[in-house]
Point group: C2
Chain length 358, copies 2
């Protein structure tokens, strides 16, 4: 967050979800609500207004959902955050009016869209007129360069989330692991690589917005700037087999040079998100990731993070058992079973380290 | 090339190599000289001036090498092309003076650097003053988007060059294959994906300069715009195991969805170019590429293009035999042995097609 914001005090955010308030379409909203609950004034969603937020998305107890900007203002916000991320990241034309009204009412804007709000003449003009700040989270640093293949030589342990698809909870698993590592006394940091992670962490690089020749280099920089930490938990991006996003995924894998990976997987998904292609079996994917990572730095997949949101309790438990049997690795759904400790135990075994109490 | 240039007639180019005239450092110069010989007025290289161009780089018979811009002007050029591509692609500060003098003398500029000449205030101003044109080849189309995973459904045959490293001749192998396919009567097109290829072909997208989220989509567009062709030969980029460039490589692989790949390899190279990491054995790399490509579209590596430039004739012949034995695939050095027909034969077998005379 900028210095201007720091001077004005803590954020109180309206989270705009525009009729798409569910855990798949409103990934940004759900995560910011889950990991920054104290900063949320209300959610603005014309379709879900009046409903119970926790019942809808499994987090955000007590946070109201309102139908209009006018109602939202009654909750005294100072910021509007765009909480949904359409494919391609473009700004829906209808939002422009709402965003200008919000600035007129004294709100700053936070956006993770590919289209930068600051580049929109009408929005930029309104921000200037009303002295509001627009934070385009997806603007990468201006001075990126090619990777020099140095992350692998750092002393910090580098854990990367990978996945059988995009949009299935890689960021959440790493946030939970960071919290668990800190509980055990490790000097751990969550490394944000996407717009939502950056909104939560307050720093990071939007990997998917870098120039492709510098994508590996951007990932490397994230590690080099934090190399004095004991463990880094790097937010994953896309999937190595996703037809649209695989460039970003491999750049992140080679740039950060992980020595351990957590494989994230949604058992109810048979084809990749949005642009459909079949998802291969987990053992095949684990082997492929270890081979690919090993081209730069030897790495093992040490645990599986499952997203069982759409399964019954019984089916989810069966899936955990089945996954552990098929892969020989510990598996869990860190939200459903609250057992992120299983994955942290696996990392301690992998790194042959032990600290703190369980 | 632009409309303005088309109006003024054919190019006569000074190729600037600035003391780096050899086949490794002056990749752009060597390729443009080889594939556009009729458009080259002279080479400007202070260190190699007066020497025999063909003896130095194996092509460009009879083209003079001069030491200064003044000498170059005696050969009546209308364009200056920057013929070397430093890592990161930045403009060496010392060149600015020469480029401005060239424009003053009536020359247009062509550059494939990451730093756009048009963004340099002094160069842009000089271009305007002297009514010269600066073609920054590396500017990608402004309207790229995410891949929709549609290239795999096109009827054209899609052949992609892949490699065990960057900078070992992938583009050349595809240019030679395109020529051979045309000799056999196929409606074939070379698809340029890098600055040099674009200079030679006159169209294409600089894959390494795309926004990473759109890299796969850019590759897909190259195929979709040419889907009515019989065979596309797509210029490869980087290498799946290159620590700095692998994002670009995988984006190109998944975006173009090849059904056949030609693996390019330089036997004398043991670690990757510039940013060193060990190059794994060819059979491992072939298997890895087929697995990765197969996530989007089934594909086979059907032949090996070797770069034996630094080997003796005997060693090169032995290497071809050894490679064929190890991989079970036809191998050749398309320049040294002039046997690109072996690779085209392999493609005809793969696609079960046959046309023309051999």
């Amino acid at each position: 967050m900028s210095k201007a914001r720091a001077r004005r005090g803590a954020r109180r955010m309206v989270v705009l979800t525009d009729g798409k308030l569910n855990i798949w379409s409103a990934k940004t909203a759900v995560s910011v609500i889950r990991y920054r609950p104290g900063e949320i004034a209300c959610v603005l969603d014309r379709k879900a207004a009046g409903r119970d937020l926790h019942a809808l998305i499994g987090t955000g107890k007590g946070i109201p959902i309102v139908a209009s900007l006018k109602e939202a203002l009654a909750h005294k916000p100072n910021t509007l955050l765009i909480g949904i991320a359409p494919v391609g990241g473009k700004l829906p034309a209808a939002w422009r009016k709402v965003l200008i009204e919000a600035m007129k009412a004294g709100l700053d804007l936070i956006s993770g869209l590919h289209t930068f709000l600051n580049d929109d003449p009408a929005l930029a003009q309104a921000a200037k007129r009303h002295r509001r700040e627009i934070w385009d989270v997806r603007v990468p640093p201006p001075d990126l360069d090619c990777s020099e293949n140095v992350a692998k030589a750092t002393k910090c342990k580098r854990v990367l989330a990978v996945g059988s698809d995009c949009n299935l909870g890689k960021m959440s698993v790493m946030l939970e692991l960071t919290a668990e590592a800190r509980r055990r006394g490790y000097d751990a940091e969550f490394v944000a690589t996407g717009q939502t992670g950056i909104m939560i962490a307050g720093s990071g690089i939007p990997m998917d917005r870098t120039i492709s020749d510098f994508t590996n280099g951007a990932a490397e920089r994230l590690v080099m700037e934090r190399k004095k930490r004991e463990i880094l938990f790097v937010e994953g991006q896309g999937a190595i087999g996703h037809p649209a996003y695989s460039a970003v995924t491999l750049g992140l894998l080679h740039g950060t040079a992980p020595d351990a990976m957590i494989m994230c997987h949604c058992p109810t998904r048979k084809v990749t998100h949005s642009v459909e292609t079949p998802i291969p079996p987990l053992p095949f994917l684990i082997d492929l990731h270890e081979k690919l990572a090993g081209l730069v730095c030897p790495a093992k997949v040490v645990g599986i993070g499952l997203n069982t949101f759409e399964m019954t309790e019984t089916a989810a438990r069966r899936e955990v058992e089945k996954t552990e049997k098929r892969t020989g690795l510990p598996a869990t759904d860190v939200y459903r079973f609250g057992r992120v400790d299983k994955l942290m135990d696996a990392l301690e075994r992998h790194y042959k380290m032990r600290k703190g109490q369980r």
